[in-house]
Amino acid sequence: MKRLSAILWLLLAALPAYAQTLTIKVGVLRQTHIRETLSILDLPAIDDGLAGALLGAIDNNTTGKFTQQNYEVIDSKLDQDADLAKETDALIDKGAHFIIADLPAQNLLDASAIAKKRDALLFNISAPDVSLREEDCRANIIHVAPDRTMLADGLAQYLIWKQWRRWLLIKGSHPEDDSLAQAYRRAAKKFGAKIVEERLYEDTGGGRRSDSGSVQTQRQMPTLTQNAAGYDVLLAVDENNVFADYLPYRAWEPKLVVGSAGLYPTNWDAAHEQWGAHQLQNRFVANYHRTMNARDNAAWLSMRIIGEAAVRTQSNRPSDVLTYIVGKDFSIAAFKGVRLTIRSWNQQLRQPILLSDGRMTISVSPQEGFLHQTSELDTLGYDQPETKCRLK
């Protein structure tokens, strides 16, 4: 007995520096995604995005065993009439000073305003809006998701590499489609491609699936795409998933579809397995019984970024974490072949863009030969000399 207590005393004496466990609470503030998808395979899961954050916490907690850190996830799912301000406040009240946000642009800015007053740091995992990284950039948002110009540039570089320089652009009628089309026009100009013509697919509303849907679609798509000037690829611009998936195999000419269907640019895909990614995919499927999508991955990566910064700084304070991740010592591994860092001028994560057809990673941009004086990853999207962002 005496001996045991002596050992206990020894242990206690040896441990003071590590005795205290540092707890890091991370909120997940997420919108409800529409179930109106063209393909039944794209229906959002109940734990969409959240599952990625949870896996990130499991990974961080494995490391935390050695560093005396503990990560907790607090979920906040917003339904249609949720009060965003109230929910954001509630998360921070519960101690979540890091918030992984799956929100549309305006909601993200609103949450950022609240977070600013209460010393919280946001991680944008889904909003692709360029304005959030440019004129509306905020000092308390880290953009883990790529923006539209990064995605468009990633695809464009590959099309140039393939010498498919003539694009027939078909866009949807939503405001997001205008923004995405603008990103592709910019990419065409930047890399020397030509948009031979632009066409519009009007969203007339209504349901997107029916029992005899394919019969009508088979007749509509050739009409939509006939009599076009000579082109190499059909570029679908359809961020809301209204028509793009109808195009492959149905266009007037036997041409490949790229953009919002066919070969698409993304930050993550369930089919990606290079650079050790299969390990992450295996862990995800084993835990959540479904595959990891782009939002799940961005949430996982946000959690890893928080974990990496908290381990290196030994701090759970948002200001310490932010200073570290925008600094020169930060980098993170994300199974994409290179280290990822943060663009200090607008807090956008530098990252390769995967080009996938949903079955395979077809290629990864930046492509060989697209050079840059500091990082080839900065050939994707707006670069520092062009930025309008003034962080505040």
């Binding site: 490391t63 560093t67 050790g276 890893r304 381990v311 980098s331 993170i332 591994a333 280290r339 080839e376």
Partner: protein, 322 residues
């Protein structure tokens, strides 16, 4: 009697061979084969089919057996060097990637990427004799020359875990740069070198004090920082020089192991993974994943003298002693 006969045969063979011809084994990750190279002829003399996704490989002391991590078969295969065929398998955990042997040759320590464990295997009994929980995605494995200290690196936790082989417990966790993939001791045991693939650095650790005493980074003119991804490390027996494979930078860095200064970059094949010296340290062999070949470096002259085509996606390389 049998043993004596073997020794005699072995001695006869040794004295009979005029030059130092060794056998190098190269694991071909996608080819599911092992290429065997005669280092005298500098040519592949045979290619053997093995398990699925062979990566980490190690020889036993006398070179009679090769242990192959067949990741997709969740096993370590035992390859008989003389018969040139697989003779059995050892029970690893899921997806074994790299392994190391105890200096007495009795125990294999293997990292299992999928369940965050280092598994201990008794080679004679062909049985698992323990597990040590480590960080996320364990990979690099090294053992100190005296066999007392085992090191595992975990790729996502970004640590070198120092393990006491006697108590089979972790005694220190050292934070290194991102995605540590490989660890090796200086032959005299005075330093532990850990390569960080994504971080782009080598951490030189003092195994006594259990701290990083120096970091080595690389700068290849005309190449972006992101492309420089250190993986395999080989240090000469006298501890004077180290060679570091730089992955997609397609180069091997030559480092003065005393001053830690990079002396030279040698252009090899594409995505160079692991390295191995011939026992006389005349040559260093590099497994080049994307170009499907092995580069031969003349160690004395620091020149690449040949590239030998092997199987698909060569990954690991070891050379059998005489």
């Amino acid at each position: 009697m049998n043993k004596l006969l073997l020794i005699l045969i072995f001695a006869a063979l040794t004295f009979a061979s005029p030059a130092a011809a060794y056998l190098a084994y190269v694991s071909n990750e996608k080819g599911n084969t092992i290429s065997i190279i005669d280092t005298d002829k500098l040519d592949v003399i045979s290619t053997v089919k093995v398990g699925r996704r062979p990566r980490g490989i190690e020889l036993n002391k006398d070179g009679s057996e090769l242990y192959i991590c067949a990741g997709d078969d969740d096993a370590i295969q035992v390859f008989d060097a003389k018969a040139q065929k697989i003779t059995g398998k050892l029970p690893s955990g899921p997806d074994p990637e790299l392994l190391t042997l105890s200096p007495d040759g009795d125990i294999i320590y293997v990292s299992n990427e999928n369940d965050n464990l280092v598994t201990l295997i008794d080679i004679k009994r062909k049985d698992q004799i323990g597990d040590i929980p480590v960080g996320v995605e364990p990979e690099g494995m090294a053992i100190s020359p005296d066999g007392k200290l085992l090191v595992n690196t975990s790729e996502t936790t970004n640590m070198a875990h120092l393990i006491d082989t006697k108590t089979k417990t972790i005694i220190a966790n050292i934070l290194v740069d991102n995605r540590p993939r490989f660890a090796t001791f200086k032959p005299d045991g005075s330093e532990l070198w850990v390569s960080s693939e994504v971080g782009g650095t080598i951490s030189v650790i003092d195994p006594e004090k259990k701290i990083i005493k120096q970091k080595i980074s690389f700068d290849v003119p005309g190449m972006s920082k992101e492309a420089i991804q250190p993986i395999g490390v080989s240090i000469t027996r006298d501890g004077s020089r180290a060679f570091v494979a730089l992955g997609p930078a397609n180069r091997v860095a030559v480092i003065n192991a005393q001053t830690k200064e990079v002396e030279k970059y040698l252009l090899v094949g594409q995505r160079v993974w692991h390295l191995a010296f011939t026992p006389d340290e005349k040559y260093l062999l590099t497994a080049n994943g994307v170009s499907n070949d092995v580069s031969i470096i003349d160690v004395a002259n620091l020149k690449v003298v040949k590239s030998i085509p092997v199987g698909a996606f060569p990954w690991g390389v070891v050379v059998a002693p005489q």
